[in-house]
Amino acid sequence: MSTLGELERAVMDALWDADGSLSAYDVQHTLEAEGRTLAATTLLTVLSRLEKKGFVASDRSSRPHRYTAVASRADHVAELMHSVLGDAGDRTAVLERFVGGVSAEDAAVLRRLLGGAG
């Protein structure tokens, strides 16, 4: 049994790989080709969840409805990395990073420790 998160990722991958928009039926087919059989209702739930999150747009004027990814995978990765590496003020409140950039002097302090330890 796949989790909802996994299904969302699989659906997004299908939309990203597609040229242009896909119907729910197309998505179902793509996933089936990957060995993932999905009930139509489940797929529609996943699609509407993704739409609510703002990752997918749907064209409801056509029958059947057609779905597209709002932004490319690379754009979303860029957004994610920006929130990890970017503006310190926002970041410290949202997530806690192991270490940011280390200044040259601080790096020297650490290297001295490592040098001393042999």
């Binding site: 998160g5 969302e8 990722r9 997004m12 999150k53 990752f55 995978r73 979303h76 990765v77 957004e79 994610l80 990395m81 929130s83 990890v84 590496l85 970017g86 310190a88 926002d90 410290t92 409140a93 949202v94 997530l95 806690e96 990073r97 192991f98 270490v99 940011g100 950039g101 280390v102 200044s103 040259a104 002097e105 601080d106 790096a107 302090v109 650490l110 290297r111 001295r112 420790l113 490592l114 001393g116 330890a117």
Partner: protein, 276 residues
Amino acid sequence: MPGLLISVDHALADSGMAGALVIPHAVVIVAAVVFGVIAVALAWPVPVILSRATWPMRAPVMALLLWQVIGLAGGLSMIGALALAGYAALPQHPWLAPIPAVLFTVYLLTHLAITVVQVTRLRHRHLALLEMLTSPHPTRARTRVLEDAVPVAYCLPRGARSVTVLSQGLLDRLDADELVAVIAHERAHVEQRHDLLLLAFRAWRSALPWFPIAARAEVEVAALVEMLADDHARREVHDEVLARAILQVGASGVPGADQPVSGSMRVSDRFRRLAG
């Protein structure tokens, strides 16, 4: 001022109960000034002195506790000073006198609420991106792997549902021991709920951006929290291993990593304490 004391005794004796005790106006004024002085001291010189002290790098737990006391006492003394000043200025209007204090309290609580909502929303968006872009770590629970060459490790705090994120670049770069150090560090953040501390001080700064109590406190608390997490990691690995991990991640010079943020006194302290 014996006359004043006697009149207080009289007032107490006449009323026959403590609840109806009338506090002399002079006492209210003196108390307002005392609270005001405490509030100013906690908002300005005390945080400046503490942020310049060198002992916090040796006792980060104590320093963190002190910052919380300063923040809390600072806020309460400001509210107290306003309330007393209100009563000193308008002794005839017991309904109007507390209004400044009440407004200030509402102002602080509003900033806290706004900060909580903002941060929660940002975390929610971040989590949605993580679910879409990262895959679960094959062996570690609540850990996700981000396909990116930049070495990063962080946690997204959400109480029991916190997520630790490791980039592929980090996994490629660190050896097993160094990875243990990174994960122990991040787990400390999650287990000790450092996010709540950071949230409280962020709210403080957004409410009073022009006071050292708020701006300094946020930077200091953020750095102290890193020291605590380092101490957690040092229980599992040698200092050298942690230092190596920090260098691998922080001084990697990978394009896309941000400019060095260390160099401030407390961040440098974090590294100096590893070097003994």
